[in-house]
Every structure is written in structure tokens, then in C-alpha cells.
Symmetry: C2
Subunit: 143 residues, 2 copies
């Protein structure tokens, strides 16, 4: 499959862009120390990855301010967050506990193609609009 | 979440048990050389992992024959294959190409909890029994 049909560049890159966008939305910028805390990764590794993302044209470092996303980086980060939210929305239909949902989504999200994401989005949207169908689906669950 | 609620021990362990069961179904036993070819892993690594699986009581090595699964190993291998087939069956509803399905399933399968697996199974079973609903869901797909 062409790389462009995957929704994930790499797990690490996805997780960085996701957290950088969350931090920017929270504070306007992302400092290496905050990224390091969010991802539970050493500041040295964060600095390293930020240089790679900078070389790929995805982030810019502004002195005295922190890291911001380029337009290209922002588009990728938004797609990553949309994917996370779509998977979460699907699992929330089934009253799965919040921690399990978070862990499953964080694991699965890096491994799904655009086609799989769109299939899950279509199913989720349909079930959200058809509560009776959702009820019938849930009758098939064990216990 | 308790480890028992995950469907995956570890990615490597899952992949070994899955391929060992496939080989046993094909030939009656699994030889290290065949496992090594299926998983594209060196024979030395295979020998190593087989010793770990043996220590965990999941496989037994029989001289002049090869590796067979214990009852415990067989149950786990069957659950791994059931999970692979359920995910595949879900994606096949959406006419996603075979390679993409295989790649997504191989990636996702190690990251889903029992609850997520059961939700996907319920959705898949329902859609297989309700073609009109499936048609409506597919109308939501892009292009
Ligand atoms: Mn995520
Ligand atoms: Mn598999």
C-alpha cells in the first residue's frame, strides 16, 4: 500500500504532533519541558525529535516562546486528533470504561489505514443516528 | 486495567502462537525453520522464543518432530486467531483491499481489549445479518 494511504507516519511522530497541538491549544505554544512531561520522555529525546520534526518542516522553534506547528504540521496534527476522536467515539457507544478506551485507542490509532478509519467513522455516525440499531447491536454483546 | 482484560500478551508472543498453530494445522507440527520463514525472524531468535514459550507452559518440544502447543497454548492461539478473523471479517464488509486489511489487522490486533473485540464482533455480526443497514452505513463512506 502506498505510504500516503496509511494514517500514521510513525507512532512517536504521531504522539509528538498530537501533544504539541494539545499544548498549543492550552497555552499558545509547546515548551520541550511540557512535551517531555506529557509523553513521559527525557528532555534530551524531546529535543532530538523536535529537530527531526523541524527538518521535516512540521514544527518551528521560536526563541523565548517554544515550539509551534507549521501549516503542514498543523494539518497532520489535526488529522491525528480527528482519528483519535473517531476511534474514541466508536468505543464510547459500547459503554467501555474510559481507561480501556484510552489505552485501546492509543494502541490502535497508529495502525489503521484511511479506509479503516472511514469505515469506523461511518459505522459510528450511523449508530449515533439510529439508537434502535445500536440497541440491537448491543444485544449481541456477551454477559 | 487488569492484564487479563487485554487480548494480547505481547506482539511477538501472539505472532509466534498464531503461526505455530497455522503450521500445526498445515503439517501436524511446527519446525523452528518453518516458524523462522513465516515470521521472517532468524532461527536463533526463534529458538530463544520457543524456550520462553516452553517455560511458560505454552509449547512443548518433541524430538524428531518439532514444536507442538500445550492445551493452554492451544487455547491462547485459538483466541488470537479468532481475534484476527473477527477484525478481518469487520473490514471485509467495506470492500477494503486485501493487503490493507491484512496490514491493519496485524497492527491493530495486539492493541485491543476484550471489550473492544466484542463490540467489533457484535457490529460485524449485526451488519452481516442486516444487509440493508450495511448499505446505509456504506452510503456514509467518502467518494
Ligand atoms: Mn492518540
Ligand atoms: Mn494476526
Amino acid at each position: 500500500m502506498p505510504a500516503s494511504h496509511r494514517t500514521s507516519g510513525s507512532t512517536a511522530r504521531d504522539d509528538y504532533l498530537e501533544q504539541i497541538l494539545h499544548l498549543i491549544e492550552e497555552k499558545g505554544y509547546a515548551r520541550p519541558i511540557d512535551i517531555s512531561k506529557k509523553l513521559n520522555i527525557s528532555q534530551a529525546s524531546v529535543t532530538n525529535m523536535l529537530q527531526r520534526l523541524d527538518a521535516e518542516g512540521l514544527v518551528k522553534h521560536e526563541k523565548y516562546r517554544g515550539t509551534i506547528l507549521t501549516d503542514k504540521g498543523l494539518n497532520i496534527a489535526k488529522a491525528i486528533i480527528d482519528r483519535h476522536e473517531t476511534l474514541t467515539r466508536f468505543l464510547q457507544l459500547f459503554e467501555i470504561d474510559t481507561n480501556t478506551i484510552y489505552r485501546d485507542v492509543e494502541g490502535m490509532e497508529h495502525h489503521i489505514s484511511r479506509s479503516t478509519l472511514e469505515a469506523l467513522r461511518a459505522v459510528t455516525d450511523h449508530l449515533q443516528h439510529h439508537p434502535e440499531t445500536l440497541r440491537q447491536v448491543k444485544e449481541r454483546l456477551p454477559e
